[in-house]
Symmetry: C2
Subunit: 343 residues, 2 copies
């Protein structure tokens, strides 16, 4: 059955009122607060249809209606108007991010900013190594058999590994290795080029083969395989707002949030086909983790210019202000991207 214009309008009104009041909304209150130009009885009929179709639900016989996950989904996809950010919010974003000194600082400020603006739990993934480009690669001899491998990416991330070489290596040889690796890898995006890394061994004379083989495998392990993804989290206190804090729900959500793997899946699963301008919304049981089936996640990718190097987003109760949250997440992602691009 096709939902006519007014039924959609009723659904929109229900979602908006429920998000605002946190209480099931009845037919009378609805016509009072919105100018629907029909009587409560008519609205009730529409509600009955909406309920039959699974968009709303009543907790018990004589209560108002509450949107279902499916109702929120319809609302997000077809009914929500874009809500422009207030000038105050724009200013807050700029002011917050303008003083950042290094990448750690940027990420921390961003995650706190997101938590504060949306009043929800915010998650920011550090720029993924596999999606960043190598700006410079350095080998630092520590002793004759140990060197430190330092990778600096175009996103400002610096990663280091202590490498145990198979045998003593002269400092001239280290210089040569460095030159070769830089020549091949500088400017490359590591995630796309495991072959390049493996081919490094071919570039080198027999004397340096074992050393280069070790380096190459370390590079592969730490940079190409997404081994060392990092995550920043803020605003967990916001979980105590709203109805999430009953009967152990809060507990299981907190537990889920401590699993980095879970967070990465939530935020970092960016479409392989490149940039997505619109944040992705996962509502309630659309989430793959059962512990988070009472929550919604709004996430998007960010990165300098057109590329995407990481994800960020927020998590909150399904009863959330989707238009506002989506607008905020998108705006913050853009600002962070610009910031990285300036670097």
């Amino acid at each position: 059955m096709a939902l006519d214009e007014r039924k959609l309008e009723v659904l929109r009104a229900i979602v908006e009122d429920y998000v605002a009041t946190e209480e099931p909304v009845g037919s009378r209150a609805l016509v009072e607060r919105h100018n629907l130009n029909v009587s409560p009885a008519t609205v009730r009929n529409d509600m009955a249809v909406l309920e039959e179709e699974g968009y709303i639900h009543q907790p018990h016989t004589s209560a108002g209606r509450v949107p279902t996950d499916r109702g929120y989904r319809l609302f997000v996809d077809r009914l929500s108007r874009v809500k422009p950010l207030s000038p105050a919010e724009r200013r807050a974003i700029e002011r917050f991010l303008i003083g950042a000194v290094d990448l750690d600082d940027v990420v921390h400020r961003t995650v706190r900013l997101l938590a504060q603006l949306t009043r929800q739990v915010a998650v920011v993934q550090y720029p993924s190594l596999t999606r960043s480009c190598v700006r410079h690669l350095e080998l630092v001899p520590i002793s004759t058999t140990r060197i430190m491998l330092v990778v600096i990416t175009n996103t400002g991330r610096v990663e280091q590994r202590l490498v145990e070489l198979p045998g003593p290596t002269a400092s001239d040889d280290v210089t040569e290795l460095r030159r070769l690796i830089n020549a091949k890898l500088a400017g490359q995006q590591l995630g796309d080029t495991p072959a390049l890394v493996q081919a490094l061994v071919e570039e080198v004379g027999p004397m340096l083969r074992p050393a280069m083989a070790t380096l190459s495998s370390v590079l592969l392990e730490t940079l190409v395989e997404r081994h060392d993804e990092r995550i920043a989290l803020a605003g967990t206190a916001n979980l105590t707002r709203g109805a999430l804090d009953f009967q152990g729900t809060l507990r299981s959500v907190l537990e889920a949030l401590e699993e980095e793997v879970v967070l990465l899946k939530l935020i970092g699963e960016i479409e392989a086909d490149g940039r997505e301008l619109q944040p992705r919304v996962r509502i309630g049981d659309e989430n793959e983790f059962v512990d988070l089936r009472t929550t919604s996640v709004v996430s998007t990718g960010y990165g300098p210019g057109e590329t995407i190097v990481g994800g960020l987003g927020v998590l909150g109760p399904t009863r959330m202000d989707y238009p506002g949250t989506i607008a905020t997440v998108r705006a913050v992602a853009r600002y962070v991207g610009d910031l990285l691009a300036q670097n």
Copy 2:
């Protein structure tokens, strides 16, 4: 008024029962569960005295007694027996820490282990830079006016900073700077030697003065002033256990836990006079942060051998198993210290 032996015994019994049951404990239940060899009436008299002295408290007229912060304090100081770790716990600690590959890994494993064993919120401070010794210091030229400063400490912590030099600097000069800095600082504990860092400028010819001055100030800023302390946190889900989760207490605790400064103060305030073998316990309002006045903190320092390079501990409701928690915190700190010493 001096508390005689039996009154102390009554207090101990009250604390133990209350911790176990989470419910106010009455006189009859007390004599039943502990063999005090006196009647409930006698215990009641003792309770009256204990209450007058401020060690226990009754929530309402006809309820049992609950220990006050002061009561817990007396219990911890004079009444609690050392509770040896179970073999299972020892094994858990060893198994958990044995596979750690680098410092990040050690810290993460430790904090999760602590949270799991104590079933509370665990906090681990990364080895403080100011308390660690410099093992090696490296300068990596990025461009003619930018170099990267990399510091490797004896605790395995690696810290890097991008330094903008006042003018172009030749690579030979960088080598010379590196040699000088290493000669002066290797093996030194940075926190103790701000003078050494400042004196670096004196060691160098007029041509290199400006560059060295920049480096020296960066070193001072990032390493000596405890600017970049890091913290790992785990087990926040454990806060939902117990009575902490009512009426916004949980909220304010979560908020406090997001402030790194607060955590550092809690865990990192180690006595300047060196190692403290016994964990420190802060009970309820002994805490300096009002948001945490309903919680207790058990913390201690850790480090390789005799020195202390950082702090770790747990935070939970004042109603906590102090003997067990103290034993666990101490044991974990020792294991981690040993682990760092092996490095």
